[in-house]
Subunit: 172 residues, 2 copies
């Protein structure tokens, strides 16, 4: 293996701190814009956006939760709120009675359409304004790789729920 990494290089530290700082500040700013523009929390926006991304505007709860890195119970709560506001509907899946399929409503699409331009603009102002095209390329490349790695890396030593039968199974 590599040498035991008991410390980080100065550049790595810089990168890490910058990352966390950008993450926090960007999130705060975006959150405020979403609140102002459509009275949506960041999570709610992410959920709606993810639904809007789907060709039929539908997703299962679990897929939504995984997509936004969110707890199941937290998603249940937010889905209730969105349903109360009429932005989504929830119904058991036909295939699997356990599953709940969340569907974007017209009102949901409207809100999304209302909020999106401001969201884009905020991103421009806050993040991309100071970055060159090359920078963005680099970011996309580097973070894309990191994301892929993180997705593949089990959260910790123990997986939350494991198959027990077959020794190995290809990802569904």
């Amino acid at each position: 293996m590599d040498q035991p990494p008991s410390s980080l290089t100065s550049t790595q530290l810089t990168a890490y701190f910058a990352f966390t700082e950008v993450s926090s500040l960007l999130r705060h700013a975006v959150e405020q814009q979403l609140r102002d523009a459509g009275n949506l929390s960041y999570v709610q926006f992410q959920l709606l956006a993810r639904l809007g991304d789907s060709p039929d505007g539908q997703r299962r709860m679990t897929d939504l939760a995984d997509g936004v890195v969110y707890s199941r119970s937290g998603l249940t709560y937010q889905a209730q709120l969105l349903e109360q506001r009429g932005l989504v509907t929830r119904a058991p899946s036909a295939d699997d009675e356990r599953s709940v399929v969340v569907t974007l409503t017209e009102a949901g699409r409207d809100i999304l359409a209302t909020v999106f331009p401001g969201h884009i603009e905020a991103l421009h102002h806050l993040l991309f304004a100071t970055l060159s095209d090359d920078d963005v390329d680099e970011l996309a490349r580097i973070l894309g790789r990191a994301a892929e790695h993180l997705r593949a890396t089990p959260p910790r030593s123990a997986a939350p729920r494991r198959r027990k039968t077959s020794p190995e199974r290809a990802a569904p």
Copy 2:
């Protein structure tokens, strides 16, 4: 100014999504490590780390809050928890009776020392394992610039607390 940015390039979108995903996943993973290693939340660790960074192990509440992009009231709460655990002390500042100076205790330093190696290692595994030195350089450079920009950019149209002396209200 520029043309109104009503959309993002495909690469920008990729970069943004990758960024948010890395941010979420990394944070979750790190949070778990900190919880396991020292029963610390991410915020608590950040606060202790920030105190540890200070030459005398002291910081004012407000500076701490700003440093970690956190609400004042939230910081009061966390500082209480840390104080109860004996990891920090709080005392009014001599200079300014309003200020509260938070000081890292020996126990606080111990916890930091306990948790740090695992934290570093987690970062290696999760983030830096797949990145080349050049990648890290690029990240540090790009995100450093972005962070600087974000720090300088007012959160949104309104500043939290405005001077009132000047007759004109600042532009909304």
